[in-house]
Each structure stands twice: as C-alpha cells, then as structure tokens.
C-alpha cells in the first residue's frame, strides 16, 4: 500500500471511495431497471430503495464525527458533506418518484398528503431540512452565514429522527427494519450526548467543542 502513504494520495483515495459508494446504489437501480430486476412493482421498489439509501447516507454522515473522534483520522471530516449531499440526492429521487408516479404531479394531492398523513408530513419536513442543508453546504454559504451556520446544520439530527420516524410510521406490521435504523440513530446521537456530558463534567468552564475525546 505504498501508494497510500502520502497524505494527499490518501485523501484522494478516500474521496474516490466516497464518490463511488455514493453512486453505486443509483447505478445498481438503473441497471436493475433495464434488466427486469426491480420486480413486479418497480415504482414501489424504486421508492423504497431510494428512501432507504437516503437514510443510510444520512446515518453515514452522522457517523463521521464519532468515527473521527474514535480514530483520530481528521480527513474523514472532508467526506461528511459529500455523504450528506448523497443523502439529499437519494431523497430527491425518492420524493420525485412519489410526486411524479404516485401523485401524477398533482400538487393538490401533495398538499392533502402532507396535511393529512403524518408519515408524509414528517417525510416532507425532513426533505425540506435536507434541502436547506444542501443549499447551505458550500464554503461560500458557510462564510455568508457565519455563526448561524453551525446551529442551522445541527438540524441534521432532526432530519435523522424525521427520516426514521417517517419509515417507522409507514410500515404495516413489521417494524424490524425501521427499528434497526432507530437503534443506529440512537447510538449516533447517544454517543454525542455522552461526550457532551463527559466534557461538561470534566471541565465545566470550557466549551465542550474544544475537549478532545
């Protein structure tokens, strides 16, 4: 692995890995669509898969900070935004499949769904949060927003909860899969709370952000 010895090469390899990972589900879906691999109800399959990948990439982006603290590998932070953008990308595919093929682009039906069906209310709100985060994910936006950028991007925790609740509220009886995501999310949020609590206890005067794990 001599190639990976220079920090720059390592960064690039990590970058390439993230981009490849992010594109793979989409490539697989397109391939399956052209080879009769989506089953009897391809629209439902696409809706479920794009939704599931949005959740997975969202969890992936939430995993970055804990992983960095545990491994000390700072480069990981560079991938957080990419993972978040992939989450938004799959959420876009998810939402447009629903809007176009389930609702036939009828905005009246969309309004009715959002106001009357809690799992869609939550899903739509989550989609809006991801959109706002994606729109303000550039360096220029971060500079423009200044101090407000960080609190805004803490909404990602809410998006994570929204995505899992959306999934949990739509299943009929078998809650196993959404509960797995709920458990993952609980660990990802729980470890942050724990660290924050530890930091407060050890040095109440200092800002928790500056305490290394």
């Amino acid at each position: 692995m001599a190639l990976l010895e220079s920090p720059r090469t390592r960064r690039r390899a990590l970058r390439a890995a993230t981009l490849t990972l992010g594109c793979l589900p989409a490539v697989w879906l397109v391939h399956a669509a052209f080879t009769d691999g989506l089953g009897a109800n391809p629209v439902e399959k696409i809706t479920h898969e794009t939704g599931a990948w949005a959740i997975r990439f969202l969890m992936g982006s939430l995993l970055v900070t804990p992983l960095r603290r545990l491994t000390g590998w700072r480069n990981l932070t560079l991938e957080r935004r990419t993972l978040g953008l992939f989450a938004f990308f799959y959420a876009c595919l998810h939402f447009s499949t629903y809007l176009g093929l389930d609702l036939g682009f009828e905005l009246g039906s969309l309004g009715e769904d959002i106001s009357e069906r809690p799992y869609i209310t939550v899903g739509f709100a989550t989609f809006l949060i991801l959109g706002a985060l994606a729109a303000t994910s550039t360096r220029a936006a971060a500079r423009r927003l200044g101090r407000r950028w960080k609190p805004l991007h803490r909404l990602v925790y809410l998006a994570g909860i929204g995505a899992v609740v959306h999934f949990l509220w739509l299943v009929k009886a078998d809650t196993r899969e959404p509960l797995i995501y709920a458990a993952i999310l609980a660990s990802l949020l729980g470890i942050r709370l724990w660290w924050r609590f530890q930091a407060r206890r050890r040095s109440p005067q200092r800002s928790p952000d500056r305490v290394a794990g």
Binding site: N41, D102, R117, L170, A173
Partner: protein, 328 residues
Amino acid sequence: MLIRRGHEPRENDVTPEAVYLRRREFLTTSVSAGLGAAAFGSAFLTGCGPGEASAGSQATLPTKLLPTVPGPPALATDEERTRYEDATRYNNFYEFGTDKTDPARYAGSLRPEPWSVVVEGEVAKPGRVPLEDLLKPHPLQERIYRLRCVEAWSMVIPWVGIPLGDVIARMQPTSRAKYVAFETLLDPDQMPGQRRRVLDWPYREGLRIDEAMHPLAILVVGMYGKVLPNQNGAPLRLMVPWKYGFKSIKSIVKIRLQEDQPATSWNISASREYGFYANVNPEVDHPRWSQARERRIGDLRKRPTLMFNGYADQVASLYSGMDLRKQF
C-alpha cells in the same frame, strides 16, 4: 332465512363426467407439485450457497393444467391479466416473510398435500374433510377477478375455484350461523414467517354469512388454469374480490360457522386501520394513506379505485343502510 338451499343435488351441482374423471389429475398434480417443491427444496438446502434463509425454500411453480368450466360471464372482467410471473413473485403472505418477494422465495416448505379442512360450529355435520372430498361435488370454474390490495396496488387474476356458497350450503348451517370464520395453517416448520410474531398467528379472517353466500365469493384451488402455487395460498384460499386482499385468507385449514362476528387478524393488529368489512372503498381512506387510487401491477401511473373494486352492481345491496365510514 338465507340458507334454504336444497340438499339434493341440483342439475348444476352434478359434476360433469369429464371433470369427474379428471379429478385424479388434479390430485396427482398437487402431489407432484408438492413433491417437486420438496425435492427442489432439499436440493436448495444442500446445494446452494449461504445467504438464503435456512428455513423455507423456493417453491416450484405448478405446471399441470386444471380442468375448468367457464364461470358466469357476467362476473368476469375482460381487463388485461396480470403477468403470471408478477402474480407469483409479488405476494403478501406474512407466514413466509413480510417482504413481497419472501413468499416466492420461502413457500417451498409448505406441504399442500395431503390437506384437510376442519368444518365446525353451527353446521349439521362438523368434522375434518379431506380437501378432495370438499372439492369433489363442484366443477372447477374459471373466474377472472380484479384483486385490490389495501396497500393501493392491484392485479387481474384468472382464478380457478368453486363458489363458497355452494360449499357452505353442503355443510348445512344451522339458523344460528350468522358468520363464517376461516383459519390459516399454523405450523412454523412449514411457514417460517410464523416464528416471528408479526401478527397474532394463526391468521384469521371472516365474512358475514350473506357475504359468504354471495356468488362472487369463491374458494380457490388454482390460477391461470394451473394448481395454486404455494406463495398464492395453496392448496385452498378464499377470494372475495370486492374486499381488500387481506380478507382473502390463504392456506385454509378451518372453516367455522358461528353466531358472533369473528376476530380477524389485521383488525386485531390495528383495529383503527383494518375493519372487519374491509370493502374496497375509494372514499374511505386508510388512516395512513389514500385509497382513492391504485397502481395496477404492470402500470407506471396510478388509476382511480372503483367502489367495491368495481363490483358495486353485484354487492352494494349487501350493505344498504350501513354507514361504510364507520363499518369500514
């Protein structure tokens, strides 16, 4: 009362000789289908790689044809039939798993032969009836019905079966028989999905007696001219085409006539969401999603859902005077 059918065979009760002579064909077909599935199943377990569930195995699709007579033309739809591959690989049959593809993957462990049905409750002759005896007096009919799932997708399927009403009439219900209750097989070895308590097993369903006697309600033993595949509810299932699919219980082992409304599985699981009647109704939404439209399997876009799944002319009178929003 409703059940004043004669017990002497009427002319159309008599099995045509051709059908009678070929009844063994049905039996051998189901036997070979069962054996085939078992053989394929063991091959799968020994020869195949990891990743597949250890319980359950893929079911082979039956190939032999069932002899049928056409059903009443007025009850058939001329809409395009759903592809057989779709109707046999996209199923809700939680006894084999909750994914739509699970039944096709794991229903090979079901042994539909031999099969018998327990008949009990308010009937003159309760007892255990071998499936072939239950079917023997009735010529198999083909009935092409729309099937509307509560999840807002639908299919058009040519079923092979017999009128449920004729079978119930032969059981000689008493005057106290107001409802018919059905039960699916309970056997986690054959139905690996029952190892998880996703529903309160065994699966239970029921009909009001006048619904059960309606000529549209049938007991199904085949589809697309062939023996019913395991994943579609072999060897005996109900089909009530004006109700959501979950009413049409699969792999039936018990039929009980009774005075009280029976408890039904999805109603037990979520009574706000799944009523006893479960009539297809575009105006009464499921609490979590709209029932106004449905996706016909094979279509990209959705289409409007019809009242009573398009069978309003035949069945609406069963519910006159009822508030279908409350009795959903």
